[in-house]
Amino acid sequence: MIQLDDIDKNILNLIQLDFPLDVHPFEKMSFQLGISEEELLERMDRLKEEGAVRRIGPVINTKRVGGISTLVALKAPGSKIDEIAELINQHQEVSHNYLRQADYNIWFTVSAANKERLEQIINDLQEETGCPLIDLPTKRLFKIGVKFDVK
């Protein structure tokens, strides 16, 4: 785990929801943070290197760009977990994939351009893995606002 000082924490809290849309966003941010742009860029590089920042970019709204996504839970036998996770990961349309402690132990999200393609991927995965799975598409969305409060 990386060591963060107060400035790092302020940076991490700022770049999630309040990254300035500007031709020179880091310069603008550096004014807000009270440090030089040079120092900010050095800190950004370090935060990236150490895994605290994955990327700064667009968070795409799949549904709005015409796509469709779902959450799938799958029951993999303990001895085959790695192999099955790898089979799932090989699909480019899989964006998140986690091992969880439960009967349904592998949980992943799939996004595709349309419903037919999504069903195709789920059918393929059922065949490839031979494991029981349930398809859990969103029926209603109450909140999606990932912001990690860095303390």
């Binding site: 667009p58 790898e86 998140h96 402690q101 969103t138 109450f142 909140k143």
Partner: protein, 159 residues
């Protein structure tokens, strides 16, 4: 408000493809993209604002490696909520700051849980505490905390 009739043009799609892996951390991070798209950096920034305004992107900002900074407890709490209470209970759950996502999803014969909340925190104890608070606030007592034990993959949604 987002306007659902607006569609993305080809330049928008290219702009998203050029930025979805992340912009460089430099003084002018949109310079190369503006050259590729044959427009000014101001236009690139304006287009991003429009993409956000029209709902094609939820935001333009950082994805955090929450594990690297110690937010390692990540619980998917699943709740068995009577169908007629979903609207009300979902709204209460979404109001908790520790809850980053809240969705209603279908039930199955061996899966009775229809509301899903993601809770991220520093320790499992924190997650358990949040779940107890949610249970107290909503009166829903049939729930499960599914901790992630490993991350096999995490990329953003890509075009």
């Amino acid at each position: 408000m987002s306007n659902d009739n607006v569609v993305m043009d080809e330049a928008d799609t290219r702009l998203l493809k050029l930025t979805q892996d992340g912009i460089p951390f430099v003084h002018s991070p949109f310079a190369m993209i503006s050259e590729e798209l044959g427009m000014t950096e101001e236009e690139v920034v304006h287009r991003i604002e429009q993409l956000q305004k029209n709902g094609f992107i939820r935001r333009f900002g950082a994805s955090i490696g929450h594990r690297a900074i110690g937010i390692t407890a990540n619980a998917m709490c699943t709740w068995n909520v009577p169908d007629e209470r979903v609207e009300e209970v979902g709204a209460v759950m979404a109001g908790f700051t520790e809850v980053t996502h809240c969705y209603e999803r279908p039930r199955y014969p061996d899966w009775p849980y229809n509301l899903f909340t993601m809770v991220h925190s520093y320790t499992r104890k924190d997650c358990e505490y949040v779940a107890q608070e949610i249970s107290r606030a909503t009166g829903i007592t049939d729930y499960k905390l599914l901790y992630s034990v490993r991350e096999f993959k995490k990329t953003g949604v890509r075009l």
